[in-house]
């Protein structure tokens, strides 16, 4: 294709595109319109519902709690998985299929089964862990995030020559720590970020475990509002959606940066 040729979208493709867009956008637009109705009058258009949510101290508390839980889950998952996946790629490549299989378990085990099992298994743990969201919930969320972070990191490690980079670093006098932090981590940054954003999205939206374990997280708050206030429920749902989208856009941004670099490699070699 020449530089001046414009790419045209086939009419049939355009129809499917519009249908797909409608499928996703109509519920969102409906929710938006619903959220703009007045709480007392039921008429459009007012931002009262958003005001109600933003002024509710529980909203900020629940949102902050979920956000902190997300960060803690991300940090703990990366601390556990980055060195593990690095070591597996470097020294134990035969374990990769085993870990990939283990990583699928959270997809297979329903959250309700997981939470019941965890409540039972972790019962003997101290109260500061078992009774606190930053203990119990994070433990559960690390399990939920495991496949997302593992597969992201695995793809990231497969994209670099782990052996050669490690050996090059060591031959120059670097310790394992220096190699991990200065050579390996910067080169799997995109993969780690991708896993992190997926974890953020999961934790910000996880309801079953938090609800059954009786912790007030953001999704639990949304459910509470949904049961008690119709219009603000639509507003808070949209706000939740916005947070998830922000994470997805960040992921897209990171992914685009990596693609650009790869393309340049192909062109210069």
């Amino acid at each position: 294709m020449t530089a001046g040729t414009k790419r045209r979208i086939a009419p049939s493709a355009a129809i499917w595109l519009l249908l797909g867009a409608a499928y996703f956008l109509i519920p969102l637009i409906a929710t938006l319109l619903f959220s703009l109705r007045g709480e007392l009058t039921g008429k459009c258009c007012t931002l009262d519902s958003y005001g109600t949510i933003l002024e509710d101290p529980q909203f900020v508390k629940a949102l902050r709690q979920s956000f902190v839980l997300s960060l803690e889950t991300i940090a703990l998952t990366l601390v556990i998985l980055v060195p593990t996946v690095y070591w597996v790629h470097l020294k134990l490549p035969r374990l990769r299929p085993v870990i990939s299989f283990l990583a699928l378990i959270p997809f297979v085990v329903p959250p309700i089964v997981l939470v019941v099992g965890l409540l039972d298994v972790l019962r003997p743990t101290p109260d500061w862990f078992y009774a606190k969201p930053y203990g119990f919930l994070v433990a559960a969320y690390v399990i939920l995030a495991f496949p997302y972070v593992y597969f992201s990191l695995d793809a990231g490690f497969r994209a670099i020559d782990v052996h050669t980079l490690t050996e090059a670093s060591q031959s120059l006098g670097a310790t394992w720590r220096t190699t991990l932090f200065r050579v390996i981590l910067p080169n799997i940054r995109a993969a780690a970020l991708a896993g992190s954003f997926l974890t953020l999205a999961i934790v910000m939206g996880e309801f079953t475990i938090a609800s059954l374990a009786a912790f007030d997280t953001f999704p639990v708050y949304i459910q509470y509002i949904n049961q008690t206030k119709a219009y603000p429920a639509a507003a808070v749902s949209l706000m939740s959606f916005g947070i998830t989208w922000a994470a997805m856009l960040a992921l897209l941004f990171v992914g685009r940066g990596r693609t650009a670099r790869t393309a340049q490699i192909a062109g210069t070699r």
């Binding site: 020559d161 050669t164 090059a168 031959s171 006098g173 080169n187 940054r189």
Partner: protein, 368 residues
């Protein structure tokens, strides 16, 4: 005592014997190549020297110090890898600086050294470029500068040119040799490319099946192969199986043809030997009646292969097939199908006892 000594190195991976008692000494500033086919153990030997792997048996001594159990980051050995090994997240400059930063060298000293080394490898202008903005040849030059920046005890090169195209390969190997000579750094160079090894090395060690078949200067390796394997691996060699007729006069019998070969003098009568003759040592002339003079083999020209200044002729004969190189200007007088005689020089042939070689097994009977 030599500067570097590899003493009886053994390494086994499962059922595979990668190294079967390698011993090698290098003097300070020497450039030694480990040459051999894939799987011969050359890279394993280099990895043991670098510290990325440990021998099952044997020792590695550098400058009088036993390095066998020293971890790679404390060996002070600069290495250039076969794969592009620059850190993708760092510019060329920062790649070269890496080892110096790890050692806590001051910023000014680092900057001075990096500029000097990038200039040395001819990449002064590319300091701020990232690896993905450099060609393969440029990346390997930066890798070389990076390996040299730490002023290593030794420079280890693991087929650093194998991913490059032919022209860049020749150019870069000459540069590597120039830089090595200038810095006087002791170097081990691993390659499967005989031309590369012979053109840049002070000495070449030819490996096969985890053993060193022969160590010597490039001319010794080429001119006086010690085993049939070396003869086969280095260049092209005519291999003539023969029986010693008269050890005193150096006479042998090859397929009913009596030849005189200096190297056969002193051999026992009746001994089975392998006569090795380089294609360029055979002198060809057009045969009139097939019985011209002594020390000749007759044959018919089967093919011509143009190699530039010389053309390689394959001859098919009653006793053996032969390969002979003749100046391209003469090739018109030796067309395909022409019956020719090949004069075997009595002084230019090597002789190996057929009982000496445990590695190569039966000699090739097609004359190559």
């Amino acid at each position: 005592m030599a500067y570097v000594e590899l003493q009886d190195l053994h390494r086994v991976f499962g059922d595979v014997v990668a190294l079967d008692g390698i011993s090698l000494s290098l003097e300070r500033g020497e450039f030694v190549s480990l040459l051999g086919p894939s799987g011969c153990g050359k890279t394993t030997a280099l990895r043991l020297v670098a510290g990325f792997d440990r021998p099952d048996r044997g020792r590695i001594v550098v400058d009088g110090k036993d390095m066998t159990r020293v971890p790679p980051n404390r060996r002070d050995m600069g290495m250039v890898f076969q794969a592009y090994s620059l850190f993708p997240n760092m510019t060329a400059e920062r790649n070269v600086q890496f080892g110096l930063r790890v050692r806590g060298v001051t910023r000014e000293e680092r900057a001075r050294k990096v500029a000097e080394l990038l200039e040395l490898v001819g990449l002064g202008q590319a300091a701020t470029r990232y690896p993905h903005q450099l060609s393969g040849g440029m990346q390997q030059r930066v890798a070389l500068a990076r390996a040299l920046a730490i002023e290593p005890r030794m420079l280890l090169l693991d087929e650093p040119l194998s991913a490059l195209d032919a022209k860049v390969r020749v150019q870069l190997r000459e540069e590597i040799r120039r830089i090595q000579s200038r810095l006087g750094i002791t170097t081990i160079y691993v390659t499967h490319d005989q031309e590369e090894a012979l053109s840049v090395s002070d000495r070449v060690a030819v490996l096969s099946h985890g053993r060193i078949e022969q160590i010597g200067t490039p001319s010794e390796i080429y001119g006086s192969p010690a085993t049939p394997f070396v003869a086969e691996f280095i260049g092209t060699m005519n291999r003539l199986e023969a029986t010693v007729l008269d050890g005193g006069r150096g006479e042998i019998d090859h397929g009913g043809v009596r030849l005189t070969v200096d190297a056969a003098r002193g051999r026992q009568t009746g001994e089975r030997v392998l006569v090795l003759v380089r294609p360029e040592s055979l002198e060809l002339s057009v045969s009139a009646n097939g019985a011209e003079g002594e020390n000749i083999l007759v044959g018919e020209v089967l093919t011509h292969t143009f190699l530039g200044p010389v053309t390689r002729l394959k001859l098919i004969g009653p006793s053996a097939d032969l390969i002979a190189d003749v100046p391209t200007s003469r090739v018109d007088s030796l067309p395909v199908g022409r019956r020719v005689v090949a004069h075997v020089p009595s002084s230019g042939a090597r002789l190996l006892s057929l009982t000496e070689d445990p590695v190569s097994g039966e000699p090739d009977r097609d004359g190559r």
